[in-house]
């Protein structure tokens, strides 16, 4: 049976790991390569690195970091942040990244999804979507949740799938940083309408929250940052809890 995946997310800035509470207050949580290696040893199924400053400061994700991770870590990983064109993606592929995650650049230029999927395969293209509930509807937000667009989240995700997205990483900005659980209502609604893997993100605070999102929304993977970085949830214990709830994990 295909296992549900647990994905620690390492937000990086200046070669160090940080995690913003609601994306504003940044706290230092260590060396990304060291953290990545530790997570793979603990049983993380995959890793995501997001260069959170890349979008608004125009900085490219550090190629050296990608290479160091690819050399030392034996599980798949995704890089996001600062990918605006084909060339950015190609450099990351050749540096050992298994997948790239695109957010704003895909919204600004949806054709980029088609082009990336055609050149590198759909499995390489993760579309990250930041969503917020505004006046009764879910809208795509850009720049780490700062800028609201007029695009409804569900429509955008369907379009991304049809253009060749291999996977969707959906972050609820309303839940992110709250530690009150994933947005399972929205996740289920989205998951029922797509045929590519869906990664839940935003709101993880306890092991039960992971159980809930797998059972209620049937997502393929769940991502979190601070609860892992600060040792509030240990991956071996989390997997044991998931297993005892009948959820297939590695």
């Amino acid at each position: 049976m295909l296992a549900k995946r647990i994905i620690p997310c390492l937000d990086v800035k200046d070669g160090r790991t940080v995690k913003g509470v609601n994306f504003v207050d940044l706290r230092d949580a260590g060396d990304p390569v060291e953290l990545a290696w530790q997570y793979s040893e603990q049983g993380a199924d995959e890793l995501v690195f997001l260069d959170i400053t890349a979008t608004h400061e125009g900085r490219k994700t550090t190629i050296d970091l990608v290479k160091a991770v690819a050399r030392q870590v034996n599980i798949p990983f995704t890089i996001g942040g600062g990918i605006n064109e084909m060339r950015d993606a190609e450099i990351l592929l050749n540096s050992g990244a298994d997948k790239i995650s695109i957010n704003s650049a895909a919204v600004r230029n949806p054709q980029l999804i088609d082009d990336l999927a055609k050149a590198f395969g759909t499995q390489f293209v993760v579309i990250a979507v930041d969503t917020r509930f505004v006046e009764g509807k879910n809208y795509v937000h850009l720049r780490g949740g700062r800028d609201k667009t007029t695009i409804e989240t569900e429509n955008w995700i369907k379009e991304a799938e049809s253009r060749g997205a291999g996977e969707i990483l959906l972050t609820s900005m309303d839940h992110d940083g709250t530690k009150n659980g994933f947005d399972n209502g929205l996740l289920k609604k989205i998951n029922d309408h797509i045929n590519i893997p869906l990664i839940a993100s935003g709101g993880a605070g306890s092991q039960q929250h992971f159980v809930d999102t797998f059972l209620d929304a049937n997502v393929d993977a769940a991502l979190a940052a601070s609860v892992f970085h600060y040792g509030e949830i240990l991956i071996p214990e989390l997997k044991s809890t998931l297993r005892s709830n009948g959820i297939i994990v590695r």
């Binding site: 793979s40 599980i75 499995q123 045929n195």
Partner: protein
Amino acid sequence: MIGIVNYGAGNIFSLTAALDRINVSYGMINSKEDFDLYERIIIPGVGHAGAAMQKLQDTGLVDTILALKKPVLGICVGMQLMTSFSEEGNANLLNIFPLKTLHFDNRIGHKVPHMGWNSIKIENNCPLFHGIMDNTYFYFVHSYFIERDEKSVGASCEYGLPFAAAIQKDNFFGVQFHPEKSGAFGEQLLLNFSRF
């Protein structure tokens, strides 16, 4: 030493990084003469099977590969190239294994691609899995699969239907998953191959 067939189908950084981690030396194969330099051969591959086959043909190495008596390991699309035909691009392939590579779409009710960690069942005492237990998880990413054939299957996996996670015939081996991304057991598999 392992020779990696360098035909331009996908990135091999992850594969060479994994070989570095297990201290297995390797080099690139770009010409027919290069095959003589290595005891074992890996055919990597990511992306479109039809396009990968075209690239392999363009290198002029196909006849040499077919005549190899050394251990050969195909990974992912590199494995699929060893079958007779792929629905991906309706391409005729190397035909080392008289099997077809088929699309998951319309054959299963699950999401496609089959992406993530899935458990395998070792079959026919496949030596790639020496020291690896049944039900070990490996990392898969693929939309096309090879039919499970009783005679050549080295390990099987289940995703809506049973398919071949590994195949073997004489000196030719293939794995559908990515050993270079499958944690310690993936590294064990590569180490096993390096000792054939």
